[in-house]
């Protein structure tokens, strides 16, 4: 049987996974393929390439272009090979005089209504219509071009990233089908009939005004220049490509960076990417221009005080200055007075090196990562219950789920490519249950079938998950065999007694959660009774005072129903940033060495000490919020921050600002002057994901290669800067390439022992654990046992958050993100994604607005116990009354001025999702915003004055 698959080839129709196989003959070649495969695909697998226009192997066959006609022995006519399934013994002819004439006639009709501007067309050299004209040998168009045509159809240039030129459209419907089948938005349709047929965004609107989410699937699907990237129009067709990994969300899409020289022309999602299978979102595909933005830092800088202008210096001087300050600080204030933070935007290798620098050269464990403020409760909760700090499934697993619970996540905005996959499964009939205070877009999925929304009050997750568990236990919906075989009996019995108590019933907690008991019971029954139930969750679970408890509650639910250890089920944290999983794996947390090995574990620590050649502190170090508290107190005096913007992203901004201004030395390594860098004394210009080698690990534990496609603008990849700093501190690190860093990780982290760059080249990606036991990686975790042996049910007592409403603060604020912007916006704000969201606004329910006399667009003062900021109002029925919502993509918005120091009891993950506030109409910015504007202006001037008067944006 033919099994070879080349992701760079289009096989015309999707693969079929039948276990039954069929043998047939195509042009005399015998071929065996899975039952259900099209003749077109069978032929392509044998390298017999039948001409086609409307077919693509990421879309179901459509059979409209008629170009792929073939002859089948014993059958009449000329069936379309894309819509004809293979049959045993079938004899197919793909090329003869009759077929050639038929195809030429079809092409002739297409070309009679197509501009003859190939030489100046943006798709020249990359056009399937052009290719097919050549393939069928079209030499003339007998009909002429003077008849009725579409050549004067008006172009739509409204989208910043792609143009729509209907004069070039052949109405093959690939764009429409891509929007439906690949993206699942259904924003495009064919308007009109016959000759009047035309592609229509929504109801004949411009692309920008339509429901289009700019994922670009239609652009990629278009076989002509009708839908075309503007970057290709401007720069020409790319001439080479490099496969790499997206630097945005935790889906970790693979892309072909298509290049001319060292310039990226376009990013094309890679069909061979196991996380995304050739799909992407607006950020990954289009928002890469920040890498060459004029704001990029390209020269190291230093200063003695944050009230001074920056001074451009050599790398050597900057590194020497930083090392000298760090050493002096430790001499004056002690070994534990300094520390460092990495970002989940950093590669695994960078993160590993920074924690190594801190543990080995700083000689303490004051290392943390921004995963502290997003998914640290996942690490605690899953390790406690299931024994490993990671999600259990592949993304593809959802295609076998029968019921999907989404808790505190908004996948269409934050994990768009996975949301498309979820929607695909929902269209196939899977049930959806959403537990969220807001009405999220997933609930509006076209053709979704049944969907339930549990609109709980912010801060009551644990009460809800306990109620779900209560229903499972008291209604006899448990999987007793799974529990008996796979779980700790005593822990289970204790939990069962706890969760059976009437106080956890849906009826008893309704006044807490606000969710009707009937809805809770129905949701529990749905999840527990289907063959495969899966839970996906996001920061709406973790960023609470009981984030860790909620993660354990989710794991309890999955174990109680036996939804662990096979495809279609599982506990799946959706990670916000590209390398949240990796940053945790790499030992960034202050209590754990790489591979989640506690610093107090003598055996593990000794192995690291032997390889690193230094003693390692056996007690945990400070977490990020502890560092801030210690800085304000005066015992923590210097910090190395790589790639993270704590001044914008961490809660209670004024507290963070107080901490940063208390430092004697702040070293920031970043690609921009971010908010944190404005408090820095040393600026080390970093490299974007396009400028370095390394790996990212996505939410499904998949390790993907990041490949350098252009030279670092400041001359160094980030890992090289850390190596330089270590050397200056007297701790030489001897690496020539990140692959050597990965080799060291494999040597020291038991779940990574089989990982190497060679193996990644061979297999494309690897899901850890990858070791002797699982040499090809582990797509599904816990299939036979748990790393702790038996699964451990945890007691999940609901403890109400202290962040409560009262007369002074009667509303609850919850924060989140939107599709077009990413995290603190440092990247996406420097792209045309600004067209969709150029300011953060406050969503408020119309009834709350009416009570306060608020109209759409009014300026609102939002006041919490921490501070005040001012945003514009947007009335929205997505919210439930009493709950308001905003994003934190723009620093001047000050969304985190109002969030508080309230945090998860186990991990100190901030409670971003619950802040009691009051909202009122105001006429001017808040006091903080005025101070911020002044500070921001001064810091930008300090930077500008340091830069030499050269043209910005020129590659150096």
């Amino acid at each position: 049987m033919l099994g070879y698959y080349d992701p760079n080839k289009d096989y015309g129709t999707p693969a079929r996974l039948s276990e039954n196989h069929v043998s047939l003959e195509i042009d005399g070649v015998e071929i065996t393929v899975p039952e259900g495969t099209s003749v077109m695909r069978a032929a392509a697998l044998a390298d017999i390439n039948i001409p086609k226009l409307c077919a693509s192997d990421n879309l179901e066959a459509y059979g409209s272009c008629r170009l792929c006609a073939v002859q089948v022995e014993g059958k009449r006519g000329y069936p379309a090979s894309c819509t004809t399934p293979v049959e045993a013994g079938m004899q197919v002819t793909t090329q003869n005089t009759k077929l050639a004439r038929l195809r030429r006639n079809v092409m002739e009709l297409y070309i009679s209504d197509h501009p003859l501007d190939c030489l100046t067309c943006a798709a020249n050299g990359d056009c399937e219509l052009q290719d097919m004209a050549g393939a069928v040998g079209l030499r003339e168009v007998r009909y002429g071009y003077a008849g009725e045509n579409h050549l004067d159809a008006e172009k739509d240039e409204s989208n910043p990233y792609f143009s729509f030129d209907p004069s070039k459209c052949i109405v093959c419907s690939r764009c429409v089908r891509a929007c439906e089948e690949v993206q699942g938005t259904f924003a495009l349709t064919i308007d009109g009939r016959g000759f009047d047929s035309k592609v229509s965004p929504s109801q004949m609107e411009d692309f920008m005004d339509s429901e289009c989410v700019s994922c670009g699937a239609c652009v990629q699907a278009c076989p002509t220049a009708t839908l075309m990237e503007k970057s290709v129009v401007e720069q020409g067709v790319p001439d080479h490509s490099v496969i790499t990994t997206c630097a945005y969300c935790g889906v970790g899409c693979s892309f072909k960076a298509e290049m001319k020289g060292s310039e990226v022309v376009r990013m094309v999602p890679y069909k061979g990417g196991d996380a995304n299978h050739g799909h992407s979102c607006v950020k990954g595909r289009f928002a890469f221009g920040y890498a060459t933005h004029q704001d990029r830092l390209t020269t190291p800088m230093i200063r003695d005080s944050i009230e001074e202008a920056w001074r451009e210096v050599s790398w050597e001087e900057a590194i020497g200055f930083a090392a000298e300050r760090l050493t002096a600080t430790q001499e004056k204030y002690g070994r534990e007075s300094i520390g460092g933070i990495t970002s989940s935007r950093c590669t695994n290798e960078e993160t590993y090196l920074v924690q190594k620098l801190i543990r080995a050269a700083f000689r303490n464990n004051n290392t943390d990562t921004c995963a502290r403020v997003c998914h640290s409760p996942t690490g605690y909760g899953l390790k406690t219950t299931l024994g490993e700090s990671a999600g259990t499934q592949t993304f593809d697993s959802v295609m076998k789920s029968d019921a999907i619970i989404v808790i505190g996540a908004n996948p269409t905005d934050a994990h768009p490519v996975f949301a498309s996959q979820m929607r695909r499964r929902m269209r196939e009939g899977a049930s959806l249950i959403v537990a969220d205070p807001r009405h999220i877009d997933l609930l509006d999925t076209p053709h979704r079938g049944d969907a339930q929304h549990l609109p709980l009050r912010p801060g009551t997750n644990v009460a809800l998950v306990n109620a779900l568990g209560h229903v499972v236990v008291t209604e006899g919906l448990e999987d007793h065999d799974f529990i008996a075989e796979r779980c700790d009996t005593e822990a289970y019995r204790t939990w069962r007694d706890f969760i059976s108590e009437e106080r956890h019933s849906p009826e008893a907690v309704e006044n807490v959660t606000g969710v009707s008991p009937e809805a809770v019971r129905q949701a529990a029954r749905t999840y527990a009774s289907v063959p495969n139930g899966a839970i996906y969750y996001g920061l709406g679970v973790t960023e609470h005072s009981q984030g860790s408890t909620m993660v354990m509650g989710i794991a309890n639910l999955a174990m109680a129903t036996g939804n662990i250890g096979r495809e279609g089920v599982g506990v799946n944290p959706l990670r916000g940033q590209n390398n949240v999983q990796g940053s945790c794996d790499m030992g960034s947390f202050p209590h754990e060495l790489p591979g989640y090995q506690h610093v107090a574990d003598n055996e593990a620590r000794n192995r690291f000490e032997n390889v690193w050649g230094v003693p390692i502190d056996d007690e945990p170090g400070l977490r990020i919020p502890n560092m801030f508290d210690a800085a304000i107190e005066g015992t923590f005096k210097a910090m190395y921050v790589q790639g993270e913007d704590i001044a914008q992203s961490d809660p209670n901004t004024q507290h963070v600002e107080a901490a940063l201004t208390s430092l004697d030395c702040l070293i920031v390594q970043d690609i921009f002057l971010n908010e944190t860098a404005k408090y820095a004394h040393v600026l080390l210009p970093g490299s974007s994901f396009l400028e370095k080698n390394g790996t990212f690990t996505n939410a499904e534990r998949r390790i993907n290669r990041v490949r350098k496609v252009m030279p670092p603008r400041a001359g160094k990849e980030d890992w090289e800067i850390t190596v330089d700093l270590a050397r200056a501190l007297g701790y030489p690190m001897d690496y020539q390439h990140p692959s050597e860093i990965m080799d060291e990780i494999a040597q020291l982290a038991p779940t990574f022992t089989g990982v190497s760059y060679d193996k990644l080249e061979e297999l494309g990606s690897l899901q850890w654990p990858c070791n002797d036991e699982h040499p090809q990686g582990t797509p599904t975790m816990h299939e036979f046992d748990f790393p702790i042996g038996l699964g451990r049910f945890a007691i999940t007592e609901y403890v109400a958050t202290e962040e409560r409403t009262n007369r002074r603060f009667p509303l609850l604020l919850t924060t989140g993100r939107i599709l077009s912007q990413y995290n603190v916006g440092a990247q996406t704000r420097r792209t045309d994604n600004q067209n969709w969201h150029d300011e953060d606004v406050l969503d408020i329910h119309p009834s709350d607005a009416e009570m306060r006399g608020i109209s759409d667009g009014d300026w609102l003062g939002i006041t919490s116990r921490s501070g005040q900021t001012v945003l514009r109002a947007r009335l929205s029925e997505r919210m439930q009354p009493g709950v308001v919502y905003t994003t934190f993509h723009h620093p001047g918005s000050g969304a985190n001025v109002i969030t508080t120091n309230s945090s998860d009891w186990a991990t100190n993950c901030p409670e971003y999702k619950v802040t009691a506030v009051q909202v009122e109409k105001v006429s001017q910015p808040s006091a903080w915003q005025k101070r911020y504007d002044d500070f921001d202006r001064a810091q930008r001037e300090y930077l500008d004055s340091a830069r030499e008067p050269v043209a910005h944006g020129v590659t150096q």
């Binding site: 007690e619 400070l622 007691i795 403890v799 009891w905």
Partner: protein, 75 residues
């Protein structure tokens, strides 16, 4: 009380609230502090035992006392 002191005692109490239904809450809290808190934080919370009177919840106080005893024996 200082901010740092307020914060640490609040954190210990919060852990105690969340582990109140476990079989041995005080030991659970002690183990949590031992496993996740920095050395300096442990030393400080122990130093507050003498003069924090009613600021600790009973479980948190018991846990910190256990932690103090464990560290005394280890040193």
């Amino acid at each position: 009380m200082s901010d740092q002191r307020d914060t640490l005692i609040h954190m210990a109490n919060q852990i105690a609230h969340n582990l109140q239904s476990s079989s041995d809450p005080a030991t659970g809290v002690k183990n949590h502090l031992e496993k996740f808190w920095a050395r300096s934080m442990k030393e400080r919370i122990i130093s507050y035992l003498d003069d924090a009177d009613g600021d600790f919840t009973p479980i948190a106080r018991q846990a910190v006392e256990q932690l103090a005893e464990q560290r005394r024996q280890a040193s």
